[in-house]
């Protein structure tokens, strides 16, 4: 991975909090109602492949594992609303043969107000 890419931002992507998809997600986890907080992963994955496959980063996706994840919710997510997902590379650290890529995504609502921040750390394992 190229540490110089830290700070790079990606184009905004719209994400609809589709009630049918929320229901399918809830069903996986046997949850009775509401929007599960980790449903935000669906919003992240509208952009995640673009980031992981970004040639500027030079990641070998066959060696990428999800290392950690955090969500900060500034307010509850509402079914049916449209979020704008703004992704950026938070940091890139290389330790030995492994690389640690922090991806930060801010989600904002139609008024431009912050709804949530998702932070993912992806680990590129060193070659075996």
């Amino acid at each position: 991975m190229d540490p110089q890419v830290a700070g790079k931002t990606y184009p905004d992507v719209a994400f609809v909090v589709d009630p049918a998809r929320v229901e399918a997600f809830r069903r996986v986890f046997d949850m009775p109602a509401g929007v599960p907080p980790t449903f935000l992963t669906a919003a992240e994955f509208t952009v995640m492949p673009t980031v992981i496959e970004d040639p500027e980063l030079g990641l070998d996706f066959t060696r990428v594992l999800h290392g950690s994840q955090s969500y900060e919710l500034h307010r509850p997510i509402v079914e049916g609303e449209i979020l704008t997902v703004r992704a950026r590379i938070g940091s890139i650290r290389v330790k030995g043969t492994s690389g640690f890529l922090t991806i930060v995504m801010d989600m904002v609502d139609a008024e431009g107000l912050p709804v949530a921040t998702a932070t993912s750390v992806m680990i590129e394992r060193g070659p075996a």
Binding site: R21, A24, F25, R27, V28, F29, D30, M31, P32, A33, G34, V35, P36, P37, T38, F39, T41, A42, F45, T46, M48, T62, R63, L65, H66, G67, S68, Q69, S70, Y71, E72, L73, H74, P76, A128
Partner: protein, 141 residues
Amino acid sequence: MSVRPFDGVRVGEELPSLVRVVTAADVQAYADAGGDHNPLHQDEAFARSVGFPGTLAHGMFTMGHMAACVCAWAGDPAAVTAISAGFRAPVFMGERIVAGGRVKALDPERRTVTLETWVSLERDGQTGWPVKKGEAVVRLG
């Protein structure tokens, strides 16, 4: 949904644990709902080609299970204001996972509770294999 009342919650209180067996069908349903179609979770041959004994559950599948445990205790998913987890070990198909948590701190002014949370693998009745360690903040009623 009725959110749990803040009054009555004590530091050290444990959340009821939540157990499930990970199946390929559930992981497939998760991939569809969550939008992560990494072949590592769906394609046996691919998973073996990159050094795993078989397909593994998404880290977010296990974290989703952890979140379900937190939401069940809080009484409403909308109560969760923060949730995080470190992914410590892979979980394979057929494995039994147990999510749990404990009250770590209380903020009476904001009526928020900080929880220490985890997911462990259960093998032979033992749950000593942590696959997730995390934290959550919930705003109670």
